[in-house]
């Protein structure tokens, strides 16, 4: 079971770059790393997914070191609207023998952006 560990909360200011790190020491060879964002009273929204090295899209970057035991979500130039809970998920949905342990969201990281 690829359990993840994230900081419970983080604070930053508008215009800053924010990096949220997720530890996943037991990541398996076939596991992907996926990050979601959740605003109050809404369902989670997909941000970015990666397997190794670096992935970048229009909203974030995902850095994955060679050993893949951690990953860092990078949000460039945050604004007040980036205040949300961020979840790191690691795993494949379906393992041999059953189970869906790739769908463990954990408590996430509550990011608070201040003016």
């Amino acid at each position: 079971l690829a359990k993840t560990t994230q900081p419970i909360s983080m604070d930053s200011y508008e215009g800053q770059e924010v990096n949220i790190t997720c530890s996943h020491n037991n990541i398996a060879t076939n596991d992907y790393i996926t990050w979601y964002q959740q605003f109050p009273s809404q369902g989670p929204r997909f941000i970015i997914q990666g397997y190794k090295t670096k992935v970048t899209n229009e909203v974030a970057s995902l850095f994955i070191p060679a050993d893949r035991k951690s990953s860092t979500l990078s949000l460039p130039r945050v604004s007040l609207s980036d205040t949300a809970v961020y979840y790191c998920l690691v795993g494949d949905v379906f393992k041999r023998g059953g189970g869906a342990d790739g769908l463990t969201f954990g408590k996430g990281t509550h990011l608070i952006i201040q003016p």
């Binding site: 369902g43 989670p44 997909f46 997914q49 949905v93 379906f94 869906a100 769908l103 969201f105």
Partner: protein, 112 residues
């Protein structure tokens, strides 16, 4: 494109009553999921489906049943509601096993 739609958005039940939550997706996704989220907690998987006519248990399946008679719909049933099932329920779908999930806006369920 509506994405994932959950019905109803809010509901109050009495202990022992039954109800069904409906999830509908219009993206032709194979995989569908039901989660519950309690205050201060992350999402916990209740049941999931890998295709029409299939269902499987997740992390917290007790007290719930599901059905996937049509590819676009995934129903979550509570046969005899209990106060411990007071929660926000989210439905999600994904095209394939390694693809990101798309979530609905949730159903807020209170059981008195």
């Amino acid at each position: 494109n509506a994405g994932v739609t959950q019905t109803p958005k809010f509901r109050v039940l009495k202990t022992g009553q039954s109800m069904t939550l409906l999830c509908a997706q219009d993206m032709n996704h194979e995989y569908m999921y039901w989660y519950r989220q309690d205050p201060g907690m992350g999402l916990r998987l209740i049941h999931y489906s890998v295709g029409e006519g299939t269902t499987a248990k997740g992390e917290v399946p007790d007290g719930y049943n599901v059905s996937r008679l049509k590819k676009q719909n995934f129903l979550l049933g509570l046969e005899s509601a209990a106060p411990s099932q007071t929660s926000v329920y989210f439905c999600a779908s994904s095209l394939r096993r390694d693809q990101p999930q798309h979530f609905g806006d949730g159903t807020r369920l209170s059981i008195l």
